[in-house]
Symmetry: C2
Subunit: 374 residues, 2 copies
C-alpha cells in the first residue's frame, strides 16, 4: 500500500486531494494537524478531537525531550500509550524550538548545542539522535532536524543554514535506515529563507533524497502573507509533487485556503488553539473576539452554520461571560469550536477539489471571511 496517494487534482490551481496511509490509520488530505506540543492538545480531551474527525496531531521532540523526557515516554510504551491517543502522531524535530526558544545555542557541523528553556541545562541535538528519539517515542511521522533561519537573516548565514540543513537531512535518512523499521515515516524539510536560489536548490536536493514526504519550513515566520504564498509557490515548483507536501506553521482560515490552493497537503499551527484561550473565535464572517460588550445579549451560537459541540450548546453571551471571568471552560469550548471550524473548512475544501469546484469555493469563502461581521 502506498504511503501517499493523490486521487483528485484541481484544474487551474495546485490543489489536490489524497490519502495518507500512516501507522495509526488513514488520513484524508488536505489535513490540518492540531498541535499537541507537550503530549496534549491544549484544553481539550482526546475524545473532543476524535469527535471532530481528527486523525493526526503533532507532538514536539524539543519539549517532550526536556519534560517528561524520552525515557519516561519509552517506558510508557511510546507517546501514543503515554497520552492515550489512538490515531496518528507526527513529531516535530524540535529544530524550530532550538532556534526560536533557546537563547543560547551553538550550531556545529554535527548538530546543535542549546540551553533548556526550563532550567538552563545544556543539551545537544544531532540529526541522527533526533531521528532515533522520535522513533523511540513511536512517532508515525518523524521530522528531520533543521535550522530555521529568522526572517531577516543575511544571505551568507541563510545559505549556511540551508546547506547545513541539507547535510543534516542526508544524515537523517541514514539514521532512519539504521532503525530498520518501516512503521515510522520520515519527512525532509526545505529551508532557504527568502532567497529564491536557496529555496530552489533546497527543494531539489530534498526531493532527491529518500524521504516519505517533504515539508516547507522557514515560512510564515513574521513576513507579510503575500510574500509567504509567493515563496511557497516558487518553492513548490522544484519540489517532488508525488510526495505529501507539508507547510509547517500555517493554520488560519485564509492561510489554509491559500496553502491548499498552492498544492499543500498537510499543515499545522498553534494559532487555532492559542486564540481559543484568549477569547477569539472563527466564524464564516471573520474572526470575532468574545470579550466584546456587543455579545452581552447575543444568544446566538458563535457561528449559526457550525454544528460543533460548542455551537450546539452555548451562546455568545455565555461564552463572553466565561472569557470575561477567565474560566477554564472558555478555553475548552472555544478550542472545540475553532478546531471544528478549521476541520470543517478543510473538509469543504477537500470536497470542492473532488467536485472540481475548488476555485469557486476558495473565492466565496475568502470574500465572505474577509468581509467581517460588523
Amino acid at each position: 500500500m502506498d504511503f501517499f496517494k493523490i486521487h483528485h487534482e484541481d484544474n487551474g490551481t495546485g490543489a489536490r486531494a489524497g490519502i495518507l496511509n500512516a501507522g495509526h490509520g488513514q488520513i484524508e488530505t488536505p489535513v490540518y494537524m492540531p498541535v499537541g506540543t507537550k503530549a496534549t492538545v491544549k484544553a481539550v480531551k482526546n475524545e473532543d478531537l476524535y469527535d471532530i474527525g481528527c486523525n493526526i496531531i503533532l507532538g514536539n521532540l524539543y519539549h517532550l525531550y526536556l519534560q517528561p523526557g524520552i525515557k519516561i515516554i519509552e517506558a510508557a510504551g511510546g507517546l501514543h500509550n503515554y497520552m492515550n491517543w489512538k490515531n496518528n502522531i507526527l513529531t516535530d524535530s524540535g529544530g524550530f524550538q532550538v532556534f526560536s526558544l533557546s537563547e543560547k545555542r551553538k550550531v556545529m557541523e554535527d548538530g546543535v548545542e542549546f540551553k533548556s528553556v526550563l532550567d538552563g541545562s545544556v543539551h545537544f541535538f544531532a540529526p541522527g539522535n533526533v531521528v532515533e528519539m522520535q522513533a523511540k517515542m513511536g512517532s508515525d511521522i518523524i521530522m528531520v532536524l533543521d535550522e530555521c533561519s529568522p526572517f531577516n537573516l543575511d544571505y551568507g548565514h541563510t545559505r549556511d543554514a540551508a546547506l547545513r540543513t541539507l547535510r543534516w537531512a542526508e544524515e537523517s535518512t541514514r539514521a532512519r535506515k539504521r532503525l530498520n523499521s518501516s512503521r515510522s515515516k520520515i519527512f525532509g524539510i526545505v529551508q532557504g529563507g527568502f532567497v529564491k536560489d536557496l529555496r530552489k536548490f533546497s527543494a531539489q536536493e530534498i526531493s532527491g533524497m529518500d524521504f516519505d514526504g517533504i515539508a516547507i519550513g522557514g515560512l510564515s515566520v513574521g513576513e507579510e502573507r503575500p510574500r509567504t504564498i509567493e515563496m511557497l509557490k516558487y518553492t513548490l515548483q522544484y519540489t517532488d509533487p508525488k510526495k505529501p507536501l507539508y507547510f509547517m506553521g500555517i493554520g488560519d482560515p485564509e492561510g489554509i485556503i491559500e496553502a491548499i490552493d498552492a498544492g499543500i497537503d498537510m499543515f499545522d499551527c498553534v494559532m487555532p488553539t492559542r486564540i481559543s484561550r484568549t477569547g477569539s473565535a472563527f466564524t464564516a464572517d471573520g474572526r470575532i473576539n468574545l470579550k466584546n460588550k456587543r455579545f452581552n445579549y447575543d444568544f446566538r451560537p458563535i457561528d449559526e452554520a457550525c454544528k460543533c459541540y460548542t455551537c450546539r450548546n452555548y451562546s455568545r453571551s455565555y461564552l463572553k461571560h466565561l472569557v470575561k471571568s477567565r474560566e477554564i471552560l472558555a478555553g475548552m469550548l472555544l478550542t472545540i469550536h475553532n478546531l471544528s471550524f478549521i476541520f470543517n473548512l478543510v473538509n469543504m475544501a477537500r470536497n470542492a477539489i473532488i467536485s472540481k469546484n475548488f476555485r469557486g469555493f476558495r473565492n466565496d469563502f475568502l470574500e465572505r471571511y474577509r468581509n467581517r461581521e460588523k
Copy 2:
C-alpha cells in the same frame, strides 16, 4: 409529592438516606454539590458532571450579580438555559462572599452595602431582593441572605450578626411568599459562630420558620475539625430533623463522612475542584500530589479501584507530566477524578446507611484514608 423524604436512618449515628424532589429532578441524599460559582464548575463540561451522576450544582448570586449580571441571565431564560445545565441548581445568596471577599461593607438593619471585588463599585443586598434575584435566575433552591461571622469574632458582634440573620431570614420568607411560585424552594441559614447559646437559639428559630430546608452556616471557617464537628452536632440537636439539612462549605472526604455521620444531607465545597487545579488527587489511601517525582515512572491510575474517565485512561506518570507542564488538561482530568471520587464516596456512604452498616463503612474508610500511602 414531599420535597424531602427520609427513607433510611442509621442506628447509632445520625446518618440518614433520603430523596429531594427538586425542580429539575430527584436528588438522592446525602449529596455533595459541586460548586459552579460563576455558572461553570471549573475545568469540566456539563457532560462530565452528568457522567458522574451529578444532579445538583451550586451557583453564587454575589458573583453572578456582578458578572454577567442578573438581567443577562434573565434574558437568557434563567441560569439553567444560560449555562445549558439540565439538572438542579442551588444558588447561594452571596452573604458569605459579601462578608469574606468585599473589603469594605456596611451592615445595616435592612441589608448590607458592599464594594464589588471586580471594580470597586458600590452595591446593596437586602434579604428581599436577594430572594427575588435568585428566583429570577430560576434557582431550584434559594438561600437566604445571612451574615457569616469570622471565626474569632467577639460575643457581642457574633450575637448581633446571628440575630440580624434571623430577622433577615424572617424577611426572606415573606419575600418568597410574594413570589407566588412554589418551584423555587428556600433554605434558612443557622449562624451563631462558636457560641452554643446562639447556635441553639438560631437553630430553633430557623426551624420554626417557613423554610423548605435548613443550612448550617459559619462552620468550617478556619477552626480545627473536631471543633467543627462538635458545634455541628450541638446545633443539629436543635434543628428540625424532618427538613433537609445542609452543611455549607465542607467537601473533603473525612469532613463529608463526619458530616453524614452527624445527620447532614447536603454539602458543598470548592475544595475538590480547587485542589484539582494544583495537582492534588484523592485516593482511598489519602490525598496525593502528582507533582511528586515518585510518580515519574508510576504508570498506574490515580486510584486502582476508581472507575472514572481519568483513571480508566491515564497514568499517574502522564498526569504528573501535565501538572508539571501546567497544562489545562491536568486540571480537567483531576477535576473529573476528584469529583468522581467524592461522588463514589457519598454513594458508598448512602448504600452503607441503607444496608445498616454506616458505622463500619465510616471506620474502615477513615482508617485507610488516614493511613496515607507512603
